[in-house]
């Protein structure tokens, strides 16, 4: 049994407009009567509740059916209702404790949500994002059986996001690959091995901080010459990408070398004792931007590395986050494809439990908050289509929700927070401007 798609409901986004119910009634009962909708939004004391079929994993309605008219589809997870077997006894309505199985008087039988064959009318009709069709299960179903190309027991810190990123990425990239991991957390947690054994199930090597992209250039060109299509992949930290590693990266991007360069950005040199990097944001505590009598964390803004890569006319550039896995996988797919004919750069934000000082079970939550506060913007770029935001920057959460979750910002003054807010606003404006701009393909070759 795989994982299933589902409809999610965010009551805080709902205003009770009932568009979803009308859309459902129209799609399923050819009626404008919201009472016939299979999704029922109820208002109560200013908040909204939902009654609809949950497509339960172990559905009581199915157990309660005496006529074998209900069954859970093993492929889609939808609880199917077979009209030709149903005897209208209504015992299924006794089994359902979610108000999801209801007698439709006009139809003369029970009616329930069937997810519209994977394209729910209610979700499409929702103007405020209160209803969402979650297709994340697709990732599990598609990728769940692919081989994890790292050994179990890598020595990342508890709750390490970077380990998740590299495992997901390499599953998707597959075994026909050579991996370079310059100094940083990724080799540090054992991917290049201990005691003569490697922690990676594909060829992996440990370049200098300075020459990752150059070495991958040579590896790719060699395999091409002998007629083999081998993907070459950098799994590098932000230090190895933005600072010391930048000249070889910039050179390879400018030459259009065919590779996939993944920067795992934990905003500093976390492996060697949490020193600041060019990607460390303003105000952040690191061991080299301490907080004390005079110091109040880093005094400069981070450089925007992914935008720098856009200016290299790369075949593909994107930012991603493990808080938004579908988006991450979409971008991985495009980056892998682009790396077959040019330089692909993927910048994945990786909150660091140890270096940023937050509880190890909060990593994905922190990742989400970074995006929802616009601290991190998710977008992608290719020269043909230009830049496109993949997560709307409108209606961000207050910045405090993000910075207050992290120990490295605990000391921030109001002025510092205002500075960060200013930087975010500027960044949003700049990226939106790019998103609205002319595709770079129009520029002379």
């Amino acid at each position: 049994m795989g994982a299933f798609e589902t409809i999610s409901f965010r009551p805080e986004n709902c205003n009770g407009c009932n568009d979803c119910m009308i859309a459902c009634a129209q799609a399923k009962a050819q009626s404008d009567d919201a009472a016939r909708s299979r999704i029922q939004v109820l208002s109560s004391d200013g908040s909204y509740e939902l009654a609809m079929c949950r497509q339960c994993g172990d559905p009581e309605c199915v157990h309660n059916c005496p006529a074998a008219a209900l069954s859970k589809d093993a492929e889609s997870g939808v609880i199917d209702w077979d009209a030709s077997k149903c005897v209208d006894c209504l015992l299924c309505t006794v089994g359902c404790s979610y108000g999801g199985m209801v007698y439709d008087v006009d139809a003369g039988h029970v009616a329930k949500c069937d997810l519209c064959d994977g394209d729910p009318a209610c979700v499409k009709a929702c103007p405020r994002g209160a209803l969402k069709f979650l297709t994340t299960a697709r990732i599990y179903n598609e990728v769940g059986n692919l081989e994890d190309l790292f050994v179990p027991g890598l020595a990342g810190c508890q709750g390490c996001n970077t380990e998740l990123i590299i495992r997901h990425a390499m599953r998707r990239i597959g075994p026909e690959a050579v991996v370079a991991t310059p100094p940083g957390c990724i080799p540090g947690m054992g991917t290049v091995g201990y005691n003569g054994l490697t922690g990676t199930k594909v060829p992996v090597f440990h370049p200098l901080l300075t020459n990752t992209a150059s070495m991958l250039t040579g590896v790719r060109r060699y395999y091409k010459r002998i007629g083999r299509n081998v993907k070459v992949v950098a799994l590098a930290g932000d230090g190895g990408t933005a600072d010391v590693g930048f000249q070889s990266l910039s050179g390879a991007a400018e030459r259009g070398e065919e590779m996939l360069f993944i920067c795992v950005d934990n905003e500093g040199y976390m492996n060697t004792g949490m020193q600041r990097s060019g990607c460390t944001p303003y105000g952040a505590w690191t061991s080299t931007t301490p907080v004390g009598e005079r110091g109040r964390g880093k005094t400069q803004d981070a450089k925007n590395l992914p935008l720098l890569m856009v200016m290299h006319h790369c075949a593909y550039v994107a930012t991603a986050s493990t808080g938004f896995m579908e988006d991450l996988y979409d971008k991985l797919d495009r980056a892998i494809e682009a790396s077959e004919h040019g330089f692909a750069y993927l910048h994945v934000y990786s909150p660091c439990t140890t270096g940023w000082r937050f509880p190890s079970d909060q990593n994905i939550e922190v990742s989400r908050k970074a995006v929802r506060t616009n601290f991190v913007l998710l977008w992608e770029f290719d020269p043909q289509s230009g830049l496109r935001l993949t997560h709307a920057a409108e209606d961000p959460l207050p910045l405090a929700e993000y910075v207050m979750a992290l120990g490295k910002y605990r000391h921030l003054s109001e002025e510092q927070i205002a500075h960060i807010e200013g930087t975010i606003a500027q960044n949003v404006k700049f990226v939106k401007g790019l998103a609205a701009g002319v595709p770079l393909a129009a520029a002379p070759a």
């Binding site: 029922q40 109820l42 109560s44 509740e49 939902l50 009654a51 172990d58 009581e60 157990h63 309660n64 005496p66 006529a67 074998a68 030709s84 077997k85 005897v87 209208d88 006894c89 209504l90 015992l91 309505t93 006794v94 089994g95 359902c96 404790s97 979610y98 108000g99 199985m101 209801v102 007698y103 008087v105 003369g108």
Partner: protein, 420 residues
């Protein structure tokens, strides 16, 4: 002697629910299901629809062979159990074969109870409990002109409706003052009775058949008021009783049904019981009751299966809440919980809205601001949600009036807040 880890007697809802629960926890050990039927599993509840022809007999099976193969379950048809011997952890089948078990579930269900009417043994009559019963009734339907149904319970009323739809002239004889008295009060039953009368079914309530005699192909019934009634089809639907005869020498404690604790465990070691055969704690009453309804068979079967498999997630039985749904002549009646008459009177409040003309009825019974029962005819509410309100003893004090005004909506809001 054949040996199996889990042995399950019976193959309807309680048994299937137990198999499912066991396999969720224990993918390995042997499961054997023995049933006296020759067919794949089916539900007694679907049988009235087989009688009417709405359900084809070959399409009512709850599981196919593939299901049992996939779950590594040995499904043995035509295997009626004659004796259960807890001391030697074995059962004996009708043909003398013995099967040893480590854990045994009794889910043998119920069988029609035959009323002690003089002459009954001498006339041809039908009952409706097995698929063969239903097929037999279906086959005589076309040539039935006058049908007599003994008993105005759910089975009798379902059958009466279908016989009437098939063109027969139908009379139902019910000993109680009203039909369906187990689930509805006089007002509600009155509405249902009126619909039956409108559709040409004759209901004789507070009435009894005193003697029966053969008459040509059919029978002649003498009624308690002295009237005589001829019928070419006699259906006895005067209730059911747990099938426990095979347990007579087992030493397992039996009252009306097999007595079980809150884990569905019987008085005998390694023997459980669930479904219509079991007598378990009632939700409202101190005594153990037989709550012979499909949803409870499913729930009890699950508890038994989990307990048998040692599933640590098992939760004890909350007690049987009577409930049912009843669709008749295109109308819907629902009954969840108990009538006020079943409660001791302290703190009981009853609210009712009756529109007999429109065949609409709603009654809500509260005790100490908690839902005890809700009964409706052609009135929309979610019985499954109401059942949870009862089981969770949700306090309705703060929302009482809104709940009485719009039970479906308020119950759904409470659902979202309490068990979303």
């Amino acid at each position: 002697m054949d040996q199996t880890h889990y042995l399950i007697v019976g193959a309807s809802h309680a048994a299937l629910s137990a198999v499912h629960a066991i396999r969720l926890h224990d993918a390995e050990r042997d499961i054997t299901v023995v049933t006296r039927d020759q067919s794949l599993p089916y539900s007694p509840t679907v049988l009235p629809y087989v009688v009417s022809g709405r359900s084809a007999p070959e399409r009512v099976f709850l599981r196919n062979e593939d299901y049992f193969t996939r779950l590594n379950v040995k499904y043995r048809r035509g295997a009626a159990v004659r004796k259960v011997r807890p001391a030697t952890a074995s059962v004996q089948l009708d043909d003398g074969e013995e099967i040893g078990f480590s854990k045994l579930l009794l889910a043998s269900g119920a069988a029609p109870a035959l009323p002690p009417i003089p002459g009954l043994a001498g006339v041809r009559f039908h009952v409706l409990r097995t698929l063969n019963d239903a097929i037999a009734l279906h086959s005589v339907l076309p040539k039935t002109k006058r049908a007599l149904v003994l008993g105005g319970g759910l089975i009798g009323m379902h059958a009466a409706e279908n016989l009437a739809k098939g063109g027969a002239q139908v009379t139902v004889v019910e000993i109680q003052p009203h039909v369906l008295s187990g689930y509805f009060d006089a007002d509600a039953s009155g509405i249902i009775e009126k619909v039956f009368a409108t559709n040409g079914v004759r209901l004789l309530t507070s009435s009894q058949v005193t003697t029966l005699a053969g008459s040509g192909e059919g029978c002649r019934a003498m009624l308690s008021d002295g009237a005589e009634l001829d019928a070419d089809l006699l259906l006895v639907a005067a209730g059911v009783a747990p099938v426990t005869d095979f347990l007579d020498e087992s030493g397992i404690e039996i009252d009306r049904g097999v007595l079980v604790d809150d884990w569905m465990h019987t008085s005998a070691e390694n023997v459980w019981a669930a479904g219509d055969v079991a007598q378990a704690r009632g939700f409202f009453e101190a005594d153990k009751i037989i709550n012979g309804i499909l949803p409870d068979a499913v729930g009890q079967g699950r508890i038994a299966g989990m307990a048998m498999a040692g599933d640590a997630g098992a939760k004890p039985y909350a007690g049987g809440v009577p409930l049912n749904t009843y669709a008749f002549f295109g109308q819907q009646a629902m009954s969840v919980g108990v009538q006020e008459s079943a409660l001791d009177s302290s703190g009981v409040e009853v609210y009712r809205q009756v529109d007999a003309e429109a065949a609409r009825y709603l009654k809500i019974v509260l005790q100490d601001s908690r839902l005890a029962g809700i009964f409706g005819i052609n009135w929309a509410f979610d019985p499954g949600v109401m059942r949870e309100l009862i089981l969770r003893r949700i306090d309705l004090d703060a929302v009482k009036q809104p709940f009485l005004d719009a039970p479906q909506k308020i119950a759904r809001v409470l659902m979202s807040r309490n068990w979303r």
